[in-house]
Amino acid sequence: MFFIDLKYPVLYSLLLPLIGSIILGMWGRRFGQRTIASVAISTVFGSFLLSLYIALKFWGTGDPVLLSFGNLIEVTGLEIPLGFHLDGLSVLLLTVVTAVASLILVYSTGYMVVRSSSSRFFGLMTLSVFFMLALILADNFITLLIGWSGIAVTTYLLIGFRFYNSDTVQSAKRFFIINAVSDTALLVGLILLITSPIALNYSGTGAGLTYRAVFENLTTLSVTDKPFLGSLVPLFETIAILIFIGAAGKSAQLLQHIWLPNTSDTPIPAIALMQSVTTVAAGVYLMARLHPVLLFAPTAMAIIAVISALSAFIAAGVALVQTDMKKILAWSTISQVGLMFLGCGVGAVAAAIFHLVTHAVVKSCLILSVGSVKYAMEGETDIRRLGGLKSLLPFTRVAFLAAVAALSGFPMLAGFFSVSEIFHGTFTLPFIFGWKWLAGIVGYAAIPVTAFYAYRLYYRIFEGEYHKPPGVEPSEPDLSMEAPVWISAALSVIGGIIAFPKPEFNVIDRYLSPVIDPPMISAIGFWGRTEDAFSSYFFMPITVGVFLIGYWVARNIYLRRPDDPREFKIHHKDLHMYLWDELRVEEILDVILIRPAKWIVSWLWREVDEGLIDRGIVEGTGKSTFILARMVNLLRNGYTRYYLLYLAIFITLVIWLASRQE
């Protein structure tokens, strides 16, 4: 068969990063810097080459392929298979993740060269890539969870890379706990999905927990037994919401976002990896992977769409007022991922994945060039103390500008196409009724804000006056850092062509349609609705329009009237402070959750466990036994007359009892 020869390429593309991280973990401390970096890069890049081969092989074919390696668990009634689910979605992401990760790793060789413990750093980076690939290639819900949690652990360790700093550890712990909460929600969602009739009864015994089996059942049911499927819709609503909570934790969506902006001391390449292709992307991938279930949960979809649109808008608003480069980009990621979730929420999954791909390239370029700026300025990340680097860092500046333009939706650049696609889906797909207008308009409102903060960032760093910090001679970094930035900038510029409207060359369409369309068609058939007919060209001018607003405002303010922001700050003090404090979610959580919890646990331990149960009941029993013993002991006083009295009482009792027997 055609696909047989894909089995081992896929296996090796998955295992190569793992092998790399094992080598680095075991013997990395003995290696020199160059060896460490080349082990990491060669394994991830090798994985990229393999995935490129897989992607080319996969070109033009539709159906998903299951590559089986036997079973993980084989118990009567439950089989957990061990294999890969290879379809357009996984192939596309496999390629993108390994490609971007390779770029970031190359960058890291320059960036981390003076840092110690680089074997740990590169080991964790490759391990993180491995778990992301494991998540992407998983073919069932259990291996999905394994990859999912592996990402959590590696992210935890990467955020806490400089563990000797208390703040860093705090933010790592914050990430992991938020993640634990959302993972628990996901776990419940998946358990409900696995135990629901579409996974159990209709697959018969032992059909396994593969996505394919479950989704095929779903698609079949939507045709054969509509009333039964209709009765399952409330269950799907619950599952969809729980999955959303799970995905939103990893992707740092609103209310679960607090871990992402607070990764101040994390190495820049790690931040780039997390925000472009691993941690944050994992949530979007999860939503895309499980979208057949979402399509049968319209209320949940509406909730997801509206919350995500709000998330996109509000996060962009927070990015407006921040002054730390890393923080601005973190909030920008939250906002952009909100748009992806919006796409998933309305059913435009292909567009969401498209945006994930373009955003991965754009955001890695942005973060890496911010890293170059920080590197050149010896650690300065506050834009208030930067400026005028245009002539000093010319190459970085051009790359940065390209990425900024691509992020904010400059016409014909990468972000422009994917954002337009998302809104095309939002306004045309029929799943969430009128809510799509709310979600779409709020989402669109995020675009000018994005353009504004992105250009603000650019203007504050590269235009304006140059503040020379004492003792710093900014210069372009060396080639290993420059090249990845340039490549990703170039990709940001031309990235849009992968969704070139001509069908033969439309990569997104080629890979994703076979995955996305069949469930969509069956869901549309099930709900009996029709799509609104808007061409996707209709939304491109709108995107250009809203982009221009934001761009124009930013340009006016930061090039011509730099005093305006200060006035805004004075006139809207409350709003500014609220955004500056990053929505104060953490403070609220502290008051309503952390402090009561601390009080409760110490109360439970001190009062209930030690006080009531241990000292009260347990030791009380012991003590009362002693008291009883002492009381009995009082009888034993050594006087013969007392003993005779006891004897007399005893004999009387016996006689009395005996006489009662009669």
């Binding site: 993980l72 118990v75 652990v153 000797y164 712990k173 628990t184 135990t195 331990w605 347990v618």
Partner: protein, 666 residues
């Protein structure tokens, strides 16, 4: 305390020679002689024992399938440590190397035998899975598990004929009728597909008989029959493996005991005997003897080698557990009288009791007896609110004993529930399942919350044990296949994880002599290996998918979600409400495990500890097998599940059948 103890010079104070006196030399001479003689005897006996095992392994008498009289491997497993105790006793107290070697050898040997049982050699089997043997004339027979056999056709399709006299198969050899002697030339090993007991041993122990002076002849009436009945099935065999493994590792872990080593090792080996006996005994009296036997060594191990409050903790442990045992004893005796079967055989009573106590009038007895058994086991597990002995005992016990406490002793409680309470009183167990579920969830959440408040590292791990045993109980309460699988998985995995956590705590305590979380900080760079292992163990403990701890939690939640038999309204049911509450426990677990990691390993280095060193080779060897198991089971739990799947499935079907509930669909 002996002269030698007093004269010991701490290593870091420099070495100087004590003046040698004639008395010293005399003592050394005596010690040398004793060591030489006992070493010689030890070498001979050990070689003989190992040789005997190997010989009987190859000639097929080590494990004799179908013959409960011949088979003796379980007896060997249980009582080999007694040989170790003997040699420890005759050894000179100062020859520490010999004592350690001897103790290690006699804890490894049972583990090795368990591995033989697990892997063994394969033998020929029929299509039904029965082992094939030959009789005197070379005809093939298929041996059934009760010792009888089916003749098999030979190559030409002819089936040998046997004559039956008084129920005994006879065969004509050289014109003479002989009873058939079947021989299996190869050993067989633990069979994953068999539901019932394997490696069974059944011997007479105590027959209480009554000889009434009746007019016609003399006939004996057996009043009570106590048997020496051993056997393992899927519920006990994994625990046997776990116990022998943890004992071996804990033995390695206790090599650093300085004070009264000889005595310590004796108690430790005796403890192992008690634990192994508890998991294999199939007669109530035998079970009770082993169950109580565990208490005594434990009392001394905590009370002598423990921490500052050792006497208090030891006494509390002893009295608390004894308090529970009394109820167990009363329950056993009541069961004996209520069934009136003149037997204490656990398996036989399992078949009879549910029927005899199944009627409406007797049902209250089922409830009462279940309660009595439950109380005893609940104290061992421990189930809230009977848990307060555990933190004290764990904190005060020496490292290796904590490992055994958490890894094995707690499992005796859940094992009792699975082996005795639930099968013997299935209806009561089924009726009380929601209550058990509530207790399980209280255990999970309460244990986790209290663990969160701890500042003592060992106490934190101890409370986390309470929390995690809750998942095993939740699985049992779910009363379906997934739940029972979960219980069994959680029991094994928790043994591995908490065992390694206690070993790790011990590593730190041995160096720093404190366990206060706030006293540490930033230890990761200098204790790299230790940090990595600790992080893996913590992640496993908080149930990270891909590590061992996940599976028990996952399956118990799956089981709970699947149980829609109690108080169901719409899509909701009693257990479906319990399951999400249990999940809160997982979140809190993540919080306190991370708190622990942060406080010990991360943040700025506390300069007080800049001299701490990483784990040495002995500590690594004690922990790495457990880490390997954590990762292996986490990724590939299939082999472990298949060990007990048949038994748990059977248990579920039996319980549901006896309780009159239709079996669930899978």
């Amino acid at each position: 305390m002996s002269e030698h103890e007093k004269r010991q010079v701490p290593a870091d104070e420099g070495v100087y020679e004590m003046p040698r006196t004639a008395e010293d030399m005399k003592k050394e001479l005596a010690q040398g002689t004793v060591t030489m003689v006992s070493g010689l005897i030890w070498t001979i006996v050990t070689i003989a024992i190992v040789g005997g095992i190997i010989k009987s392994f190859f000639d097929g008498t080590l494990i004799a399938p179908g013959s409960t009289e011949k088979s003796h491997i379980l007896t060997l497993v249980i009582f080999l440590p007694v040989v170790g105790i003997f040699f420890n006793m005759i050894a000179h107290g100062e020859s520490k190397f010999f004592i350690r070697l001897n103790s290690l050898v006699y804890t490894i040997l049972p583990f090795f035998l368990c591995l033989v049982m697990l892997f063994g050699f394969s033998i020929d089997r029929t299509s039904e899975g029965l082992p094939v043997a030959t009789d005197q004339l070379g005809n093939e027979l298929a041996i059934r598990s009760d010792g009888t056999f089916n003749p098999l056709p030979n190559e030409t399709g002819v089936v040998a004929t046997y004559e039956i006299h008084d129920g005994v198969y006879m065969i004509e050899v050289d014109g003479e009728l002989q009873p058939v002697e079947s021989t299996i030339t190869k050993n067989y090993f633990y069979d994953r597909s068999v539901v019932g007991m394997q490696f069974e041993e059944l011997r007479k122990w105590i027959d209480v008989t009554d000889k009434p002076s009746t007019e016609v002849g003399e006939s004996e009436y057996t009043i009570a029959k106590f048997q020496y009945h051993l056997g393992v099935d899927g519920i006990s065999f994994p625990l046997l493996l776990l116990t022998t493994l943890l004992s071996t590792l804990a033995m390695i872990g206790s090599f650093n005991i300085k004070m009264r080593l000889k005595e310590y090792m004796c108690w430790f080996l005796l403890l192992e005997v008690g634990m192994l006996g508890t998991f294999t005994a199939l007669d109530y009296l035998l079970f009770y003897v082993f169950w109580e036997l565990v208490l005594v060594p434990m009392y001394f191990l905590i009370g002598i080698w423990g921490g500052p409050r050792k006497e208090y903790a030891a006494l509390k442990f002893f009295l608390y557990t004894l308090f529970g045992s009394v109820f167990l004893l009363v329950g056993i005796i009541s069961l004996y009288f209520l069934t009136g079967q003149q037997t204490f055989d656990i398996i036989k009573l399992q078949e009879i009791a549910p029927i005899q106590l199944g009627s409406a009038t007797m049902f209250k007895w089922q409830l009462i007896l279940f309660g009595a058994f439950f109380l005893s086991f609940a104290i061992k597990v421990p189930i809230f609110p009977f848990h307060t002995w555990l933190p004290d005992a764990h904190v005060e016990a020496p490292t290796a004993v904590s490992v055994i406490l958490a890894g094995v002793l707690l499992k005796m409680g859940t094992y009792g529930l699975l082996r005795m309470s639930i099968p013997t009183f299935p209806e009561a167990a089924y009726v009380l399942a929601p209550a058990l579920g509530v207790l399980a969830v209280i255990n999970i959440v309460y244990g986790a919350l209290v663990a969160m408040a701890q500042t003592d590292l060992k106490k934190l791990v101890a409370y986390s044990s309470i929390s995690h045993m809750g998942f095993a109980l939740l699985g049992m309460a779910a009363m379906n296949k997934w739940g029972f699988t979960a219980a069994q998985l959680q029991i094994i995995n928790h043994g591995i994880i908490s065992g390694s956590l206690f070993l790790l705590v011990g590593v730190l305590y041995d160096r720093a002599h404190t366990r206060e979380l706030d006293a540490f900080g930033g230890l990761l760079p200098q204790m790299r290996m230790y940090g990595i292992v600790m992080i893996i163990a913590s992640m496993a403990n908080l149930g990270l998918p891909g590590l061992a701890g996940f599976w028990g939690e996952w399956w118990s939640l799956l089981g709970a979600v699947q149980n829609t038999e109690f108080y169901t309204t719409g899509g909701l049911s009693f257990f479906r409400i319990l399951a999400p509450i249990a999940l809160i426990g997982i979140i809190i677990t993540a919080a306190y495990m991370l708190l622990m990691i942060r406080k010990i390993f991360m943040g700025p280095l506390n300069e007080r500890w800049n001299w701490l060193t990483d784990m040495d080779a002995r500590e690594k060897w004690a922990i790495l097998p457990l880490v390997f198991l954590m990762v292996f089971i986490g990724i590939y739990p299939g082999p472990l599940i298949s060990l007990f799947e048949a038994s748990t499935l059977n248990l579920v079907h039996m319980v549901r059948f006896m309780a009159g509930i239709p079996p669930v669909g899978f």
